[in-house]
């Protein structure tokens, strides 16, 4: 019951984000929707995912988006015209995805393929092989160490790219000021 109510909140917030004419409001509501998703993840017993969603989605990305809006002048108005072809494409895609879920195995059934593959090995052997109580950490840092290395390189590269794009301009502006 609670999840349905939270999903309703999420849907209302998503529609409000699309309809808001003010970028600051949109960013604020995006932070709210992340927070509601974090609650939903928590209800699904995924504490680590909820933690990440609250820290990254509701926290740092909202902060960074606000500071990015501060760097560019925030736009206030936008045409309220409905783009019918885009709406049709979005509805079609959503409908196809919803149709696709009909073929998925039932939610949380114990004989689902996802529970038959490596998950059992992780759950049963982590304590013996790694000795870490939190299985998520063991999977992220040890069993899937390569993936996390990839992630961290992505974060590093993205930061490098932003600094190359924005940091350089700053230097030139300073030179212009000096002249």
């Amino acid at each position: 019951m609670i999840d349905i109510l939270l999903l309703l909140f999420l849907a209302i917030t998503a529609i409000a984000i699309v309809r808001s004419r003010d970028t600051v409001t949109a960013v604020m509501l995006a932070g709210l929707s992340s927070l509601i998703s974090a609650c939903l993840f928590l209800l699904l017993d995924a504490a680590d995912v909820a933690f990440t969603e609250a820290a990254v989605g509701a926290g740092i990305s909202t902060l960074l988006m606000l500071s990015a809006l501060h760097a560019v002048a925030p736009t206030k108005t936008r045409p309220r015209k409905v783009a019918w072809p885009a709406l049709a494409v979005a509805l079609l895609c959503g409908g196809l995805l919803a149709y696709g879920t009909l073929d998925l195995p039932p939610f949380a059934a114990p004989d689902n393929p996802v529970h038959q593959h490596v998950a059992n090995h992780y759950l049963e052997q982590t304590n013996k092989e790694i000795g870490v109580p939190n299985v998520v950490t063991a999977v992220l840092a040890s069993y899937r160490g390569f993936d996390t290395l990839g992630e961290i390189v992505v974060v590093f590269t993205a930061g490098l790219a932003v600094l190359l794009l924005i940091g350089r301009r700053r230097q030139e502006d300073q030179d212009d000021d000096a002249k």
Binding site: A55, V56, A68, I130, F146, I152, G159
Partner: protein, 140 residues
């Protein structure tokens, strides 16, 4: 908001606690929810609070950009270095079992180092981004 006395007092009190909480999340990740990524993000959030309340010059004096740039690369280097260390010790890349005398201790050491690398890189990159945007805003 430059002259908000209440805000700056509360921020002064709060920032060390947020940094402490970030360290708790970093090193408690083995036992509860959390880990390097989240800890880095919380650390960066604390720095951003400092940036918002005390301005860019004060934050730059506390944590200079040059150090952050080194730290961002250092985190990736630590992560990759653990992998190379495992190679040199006779295992596969990122196979922590060979890092210490017994496999479980090796895994503990490996996870600790790897999480430290992740936290360092994430915290530095996020702070650098906030600095960059803040400077652009002052310029505009």
């Amino acid at each position: 908001m430059k002259s908000h006395l209440i805000l700056s007092i509360v921020a002064k009190f709060l920032i060390p606690l947020v940094l402490l909480f970030a360290l708790y999340v970093q090193f408690h990740g083995d036992f509860g929810p959390g880990g390097g990524f989240q800890a880095g993000v919380i650390f960066a959030a604390a720095v951003i609070l400092h940036l918002l309340v005390f301005g860019h010059a004060a934050t730059e004096r506390a944590i200079p950009t040059s150090i952050l740039k080194v730290c961002a690369a250092l985190g990736v280097l630590i992560y990759g270095g653990v992998g190379v260390a495992a190679l040199l010790a006779g295992g596969n890349y990122l196979d922590y079992n060979v890092l210490a005398s017994d496999p479980v201790a090796g895994q503990h050491l490996g996870i600790l180092l790897v999480e430290a690398g992740v936290g360092l890189t994430v915290a530095s990159v996020m702070t650098l981004l906030a600095y960059a945007f803040q400077q652009r805003g002052h310029n505009a």
